[in-house]
Amino acid sequence: MPEIGPVQLTVGVIFLVLTLGVVAVLIAVARHAHGPALTYAEVTKPGYALRRVWLWIVVMVAAAAVAASLFALPYPGNATTAHATAVRVEGYQYVWELSKTSFQVGQTINFAVTGGDVNHGFGLYDPHGMLIAQVQAMPGYINHLVVTFTMPGTYIVRCLEYCGMGHHLMETPLIVSRR
């Protein structure tokens, strides 16, 4: 049995709670749907009021989500790449070639990622098996991904874009040691 990480567990619990909530609403509606039918005018007034409130709730939740996440986009700026160690990454069917595979905690790396043949996906997993960064490895283009290693251990690079019959085997370890 693979270990279930804290993030997966949280997502699972949230999903379960939301799903049970939806089911509860459906059951409640079904239980109250046996009375005589209301006229349309009786339905529209509270219905439209509910719709107006609901619209604003959705708008506010969406706006808050955008505001909270927009500035956390992983696209590297000039400031973050200035002092970073440059590492070249090339994906081939079905191997990763990196110019450097040993790093130290606290080190900031600027991975310059490309594909040597087809599209690959550069996915970086921390020692707990959590995906911490990813970028596409595409032929003819170099994508820059800036990562700062915060914990020691063995990280795994896995291919996250289907690339052929050896796709599921395409992984390589990175070693991050203490300073």
Binding site: G115, D117, M138, G140, Y141, L145, Y162, C163, G164
Partner: protein
């Protein structure tokens, strides 16, 4: 206002016109095919799960060919089913000739056959996303790549034909694209959510000739569908060109944009076709009218604008874009 309210409370269980027997048979053919395809692709999904559980012992080549057929077939099943269902439920308001639908069925089935042969026999396994240049970096024969691309283009073309027929018929029936998109509703009164009281959907003896929501949704989806089907032909011809002459190089980022524009959108549009069906079925089920109100029109104009650019999320991890 009083007359408007009373018109809204009139039961509308019986539509003004029922679809013809030919339309009924055509819809059943599409739905039966969609369900059969869905079940067959479900079995392929089960096959992949059994392989992952160690029950079967497929080679990776076989597994990924199954994966490719499963993905393409599932999208096709969803497309055929939702196309036919929406086509059927808008008939009372917008009667449609079954002949183009029959032609579309033949084209789609030829496409399904091509995809099945190219994957099961030819071993084509570049996934249903067939990102350039993977189709040309495989172990499968060249003919299977060509046959898969042809199959995809045929299914896309059947959908394009369906969209064109709806667009032309709606424009003719309602007197222009603007009216087919129910734009006059936006100019009616200032009550916003009450405008439906003054404009009744078509097909119920009204001279207003405003499309009911399901037709509006069919028109919005068809406008997008024509562009989606066109993009499928563009990427299909580009890849076939590369297949015929390796000197014809494509830009991988351009190809990825067009491929996902086509692939994402054609899968996504099935949800909107199904939503159109909901707008037609819900009023009959609840015995209440669902009029074409200003919020409905605004929402679906929003859909018209926002749905096509949504494919960009498939390129979030391509930091090189924009170059």
């Amino acid at each position: 206002m009083a007359t408007a309210v009373s018109s809204l409370t009139t039961p509308i269980a019986a539509p003004a016109a029922t679809p013809s027997d030919a339309a009924r048979r055509m819809t059943l053919l599409y739905l039966a095919t969609a369900v059969a395809l869905f079940l067959a692709m479900g079995l392929l999904g089960l096959t992949m799960r059994a392989q992952q559980a160690g029950i079967l012992s497929l080679t990776p080549q076989q597994f990924y060919a199954v994966l490719t057929l499963h993905g393409t077939g599932m999208v096709t099943a969803a497309l055929l089913g939702t196309m036919a269902a929406l086509w059927y439920v808008i008939q009372p308001a917008l009667p449609l000739n079954p002949a183009p639908m029959r032609l579309g069925y033949g084209i789609a089935m030829a496409g399904v056959l091509c995809v099945a042969i190219s994957t099961l026999w030819g071993g084509f396994a570049a996934s249903w996303t067939f990102l350039y240049p993977l189709p040309f970096f495989g172990w499968w024969p060249t003919w299977s790549t060509g046959m898969f691309l042809l199959g995809d283009m045929l299914v896309g073309s059947a959908f394009g034909l369906f969209c064109l027929v709806i667009l032309i018929e709606a424009i003719r029936t309602y007197g222009g694209l603007g009216r087919a998109l129910a734009l006059p509703v936006l100019r009616q009164g200032s009550g916003g959510h009450h405008t439906g009281a003054t404009i009744k959907p078509d097909g119920q003896g009204t001279p207003d000739r405003i499309p009911p929501p399901a037709v509006l949704i069919a028109v919005v989806s068809s406008l997008q569908g024509v562009i989606i089907a066109g993009s499928g032909v563009v990427i299909g011809i580009g890849l076939l060109g590369h297949l015929a002459d390796a000197g014809v190089g494509l830009d991988p980022l351009w190809a990825k944009n067009i491929t996902y524009f086509f692939g994402h959108s054609i899968a996504n549009i099935t949800i909107y076709l199904a939503a159109g069906m909901l707008y037609a079925i819900m009023p009959r089920y609840a015995n209440r009218e669902w009029p074409t109100t200003r919020p409905v029109v605004l929402a679906w104009l929003g859909v018209l604008i926002f749905v096509l650019p949504a494919y960009f999320h498939h390129l979030y991890m391509d930091f090189a874009q924009p170059p």
